[in-house]
């Protein structure tokens, strides 16, 4: 196999874990040592690593009719089964978001995390389905651009000066942001 083809095949599989690791690192810094933050960090690292292993071992066949497998082979098969059945990317996304929550509010930092997570999920999908990345992104660029604007808008809502201290004004800002996102989701898609 030629070098460009190897690179084309291995590129997305390499890009996905790198993006995942970048998201985790971005969220973890500065390190916080509360109980929930530590757990979220460990879970997200494990999930990103397992997702990377799943992609790397995607082509390893899983024999279905092994008679009397050795303990080592049985362990290996069990490991492959766990890698391929658990939703590692979903766990990584949820853990990373929870880790971000553990930090004090930093809206523009969260915006960057949002970009990173969407890129991570797209890279994972491209790597596991073998879809041509250029064609896929070309089809979705309008929606992705709208999404980026909405993330920025969410951060903008977060930085608005509040009318007064209290839980009510914060909730209002959240509802306003959610309403904007919901309205955009209803209006924008499907008219490509």
């Amino acid at each position: 196999m030629s070098a460009p083809r190897v690179l084309a095949a291995a590129g997305p599989r390499l890009a996905a874990p790198l993006l995942g690791a970048a998201c985790v690192a971005w969220t973890a810094v500065p390190l916080r040592h509360t109980g929930w933050a530590d757990i979220a960090l460990v879970v997200s690292i494990i999930a990103v690593t397992a997702g990377a292993l799943r992609l790397a071992l995607a082509d390893v066949p899983q024999p279905t009719d092994e008679f009397f497998p050795s303990p080592a082979l049985r362990t290996w098969l069990q490991f492959l089964r766990v890698l391929r059945t658990w939703p590692w990317e979903e766990i990584a996304v949820a853990a990373t978001a929870w880790l971000e929550v553990q930090h004090p509010a930093r809206p523009w930092h969260t915006v960057a995390l949002g970009f990173g997570l969407v890129a991570y999920l797209l890279a994972v999908h491209i790597a596991e389905s073998g879809a041509p990345a250029g064609r896929l992104l070309h089809r979705q660029w309008k929606v992705l651009l709208a999404g980026a604007c909405l993330i920025a808008l969410g951060a903008g809502f977060a930085t608005l000066p509040t009318a007064g201290p209290g839980a009510g004004s914060a909730l209002l800002r959240v509802l306003a942001a959610a309403a904007v996102v919901g309205a955009a989701a209803l209006v924008l898609p499907g008219r490509d």
Partner: protein, 426 residues
């Protein structure tokens, strides 16, 4: 590597299959991100997390209904019959142009993929080999259809047809020829004079001889007309006997594997020499046979007959006398057997007593496993002596027994018998 069994044939079929649609893994991940963002925004009252959910929500909102419940899939086998280790191919295609398509091959047991097992595109070709003879189901192909936004995936499982894998014929270029051949035109030089091409001698001219046969130098020397004489060219009947009662050894190089490969190679060699070739598969519960005949197609008929041999564990009744219909008079009987079954050895003795010229190719290349104990060593030694006794008794009856390891050409063990005609003794 022999030529493809039927490289021109192409088995094609079109199937209409039901598609099972469901959210893709990508959609489930986006949903998790959107849900996590909105939930955290509400719980923590931080609007930036609502923005985090925005791209995922937009992508999820792009999903549209209108997915086809059924699709037409075309499956075409490059060839439905191939030899061991020969590369075959199966083509799959779909007419759908609206969806992104991915094919994943799940090979059946005994089928080794050669090309990539996952391909994107409306059509795909999967190459494979079959390492061991037999009828092998190719397995299945999983077809995955993605919608434009890759949020829904439709799955279809396409069952692939089976292929007939023929044993790889052994290399055999030389042939064992009987000393006494039936009176039928062929390519082997007989001992009687005739109209062949091989010069045998000179005799005096008698009226009726052809003028072109006159040997002028000899005529000048002797002062009388002398003519050249030639050997007649005859063909012979060959009956291949494959012993399917004992399949010992590791799969791929077992006695039956070697027997079938040797018989297939011998069939090709003798049919190339315009001999009539038939086959008898000796198995538990009876025998299957094919009467001797000529022609290229006879090779495939012979192999098909051999492949139907049952080498299973079912022990039915056996017999020691092969029917007369399967053995033409004066035929050369070439036997491929590990000589493990005493009843089969009795059958060989019976054939010899009936006057057939026999030739045994011993395909036993394994021995019982033995530990380093006195009992095992003794048992193994007794077993070996029994095997030697069986071969000795056959040789005493005038039946040549040669050993073939399955890797070298068959010409090597046959060499002592292919240089001169095999005496057909009664």
């Amino acid at each position: 590597m022999p030529a493809s069994v039927s490289s021109s044939s192409r088995d094609s079929s079109r199937k209409e299959l039901e598609v099972r649609w469901r959210p893709s893994r990508h959609a489930r991940r986006l949903f998790t991100l959107a849900l996590a963002g909105l939930l955290l925004a509400t719980l923590t009252r931080r609007p930036e997390f609502a923005g985090l959910a925005a791209p995922a929500l937009l992508l999820l909102g792009a999903a549209r209904p209108g997915r086809p419940p059924r699709v037409d899939v075309r499956v075409a086998l490059a060839t439905s019959r191939l030899y061991e280790d020969e590369v075959g191919a199966v083509d799959v295609a779909i007419d759908d142009t609206e969806h992104d398509v991915r094919w994943e091959l799940h090979p059946g047991r005994g089928v080794d993929p050669v090309s990539a097992t996952a391909v994107n595109g409306a059509a795909a070709r999967f190459e494979f080999t079959v390492p061991r003879w037999g009828r092998r189901p190719l397995g299945s192909v999983a077809l995955v259809l993605y919608d434009r936004w890759r949020l829904a995936e439709g799955r279809v499982t396409v069952e692939l047809p089976a292929v007939d894998c023929y044993p790889q014929p052994a290399v055999q270029r030389t042939r064992v020829v009987l000393s006494r051949l039936p009176n039928r035109l062929g390519e082997h030089s007989a001992r009687v004079a005739g109209e062949g091409a091989e010069f045998t001698g000179i005799r005096e001219y008698v009226p009726g001889d052809r003028q072109r046969a006159i040997n002028w130098p000899a005529t000048t020397r002797r002062g009388r007309l002398q003519v050249n004489t030639f050997a007649a060219e005859r063909s012979q009947d060959i009956v291949l006997v494959v012993d399917a009662t004992s399949d010992v050894g590791s799969p791929g190089s077992s006695a039956l594997d070697l027997g079938l490969r040797g018989a297939a190679g011998a069939a090709r060699a003798y049919l190339d020499g315009r001999d009539r070739v038939g086959v008898i598969c000796y198995q538990w519960g009876g025998a299957r046979w094919l009467a001797p005949s000529l022609g290229r197609r006879q090779v495939y008929k012979i192999i098909d007959t051999m492949l139907s041999a049952d080498a299973g564990w079912a022990r039915g009744e056996s017999f020691s006398r092969i029917p007369r219909a399967a053995l033409p008079p004066g035929a050369l009987v070439v036997v491929f057997s590990p000589l493990l079954d005493q009843r089969f050895v009795e059958t060989l003795r019976d054939m010899r007593e009936r006057g057939f010229a026999l030739f045994v190719v011993d395909v036993l290349n394994t021995a019982p496993p033995a530990r380093r104990t006195f009992t095992d060593a003794t048992t193994r030694r007794i077993w070996r002596m029994e095997q030697q006794a069986i071969r000795f008794s056959l040789r005493e009856l005038g039946v040549p027994v040669v050993h073939w390891d399955g890797e070298s050409p068959l010409d090597l063990p046959l060499a002592p018998y292919t240089r001169r005609p095999l005496l057909a003794r009664r």
